[in-house]
Subunit: 242 residues, 2 copies
């Protein structure tokens, strides 16, 4: 981790302020969701200017250690949600298992047609009917991701009529007898742009993680393509190989 | 992907410039490593100001679609290296298999002792001897990551005397008969700080991906802990679950 201080550093002043705050967070002297002292007080404590203090805070934000809440100041980031892509659990199950509270909000459901971008990723033909679902998900009341989900109405007739403010996987299992198999997952860092950034409540350009997952049923039939835009500081991906 | 234009947008002007350039990249009209026209020319082409153009370029940089080369302007990013954490290949093998040219440079080798941070992650005892190796790796001549590798000299006697400008896994296999088993991998977005940022040649605060990997041999003995700091636009992680 970057909070180690075992490397002799001749770092600029703002990085020394950053190192000091990062060490306090790492040691648990500043705990998750704690509000940091004001910029003025931090500047005094570190015997430096507010400009330097702001640089240090921006750096800690970029690393995902603190976050800004509109007009309420800076807070220590909650722990990252551990996500194990090889495990078979839903978002809600995973968040709950880590002692936190999930929430899901449906933003929009549209019956539309497969475009070329989606055809390449799903194996559907261009023009095939597809159901496009937009949702926002929260952990402990904080929006952490928005997602575009594309569902195959041939495999899931009437899917657009359900309530999606719940686990989609459970719905697929219980209402359609679908057990998802053969998931292909891709993940990379990106910046959030609109409409995703504003749906999460952050400014365009905020760092994020882009995750896509294509899921098929036991017969190899395309069921669901999920495109997730995560806040950069909200999750940690873990993979175990034996 | 964010280049789709199927969402009606009332986006600010800089995002429209961004969308136009992103579409040109997506369509292959601007190919990897192509230099973009100057900011002045882009501003004229889009009938806008240089300030707006710069906002659009910064956004595309944050998304990993373009990168800046010192004093030489903006270039279209090369494709992300596909990294499949469940597959058993070295960096060099993986880069070569994707038709690109890997290079590895040893920055430093130090015989030191296990600190508490490392003890938690490796199962070594605090104070145990450990060999700390720092390397920088390139793809097609562009530095994409720096790494701290911690090696267990009890399992790998004399390891500090080898040349590390090559595949470490090959070295472990050929010289020590080690087949790595039981890898634990963790990945999350972060910002690069020094000394990593300057070793890669980017400014502190540039977006990155932080990857750690703890590897053991077939008997469960700790062999290697690898801590990698990747440039945000250099790789894409893929996981397949069947």
């Amino acid at each position: 981790m970057q909070e180690r201080v075992d490397e002799k550093s001749v770092s600029p002043l703002y990085l020394r302020v950053r190192d000091h705050l990062a060490a306090q967070i790492a040691k648990g002297l500043l705990t998750p969701s704690t509000r940091l002292p004001s910029e003025r007080i931090l500047a005094e404590e570190h015997d430096t200017t507010r400009v330097t203090t702001r640089l240090a805070l921006a750096q800690l934000e970029a690393e995902g250690r603190i976050y800004r809440s509109n007009r309420r100041g800076w807070f220590v980031s909650p722990p990252r949600l551990i996500y194990k892509p090889t495990h078979d659990y839903s978002f809600s199950e995973n968040v709950t298992a880590q002692g936190r509270v999930p929430a899901t909000e449906t933003l929009d459901v549209t019956s539309t047609h497969t475009n070329s971008w989606l055809a390449t990723r799903t194996g559907m033909a261009i023009g095939d009917p597809i159901v496009w679902l937009r949702r926002r998900r929260q952990i402990d009341g904080r929006p952490v991701l928005v997602e575009n989900i594309y569902l195959n109405p041939k495999r899931l007739p009437g899917i657009e009529t359900y309530n999606f403010d719940r686990s989609l996987w459970k719905l697929l299992r219980e209402q359609y007898g679908v057990e998802l198999r053969g998931k292909q997952i891709e993940m990379y860092p990106t910046a959030l742009v609109d409409p995703q950034a504003s749906a999460i409540g952050v400014t365009a350009g905020t760092a994020g993680l882009y995750v896509t997952r294509c899921s098929r049923d036991a017969d190899g039939c395309f069921v669901e393509f999920d495109e997730e835009f995560w806040l950069h500081d909200a999750l940690s991906i873990q993979v175990e190989v034996s």
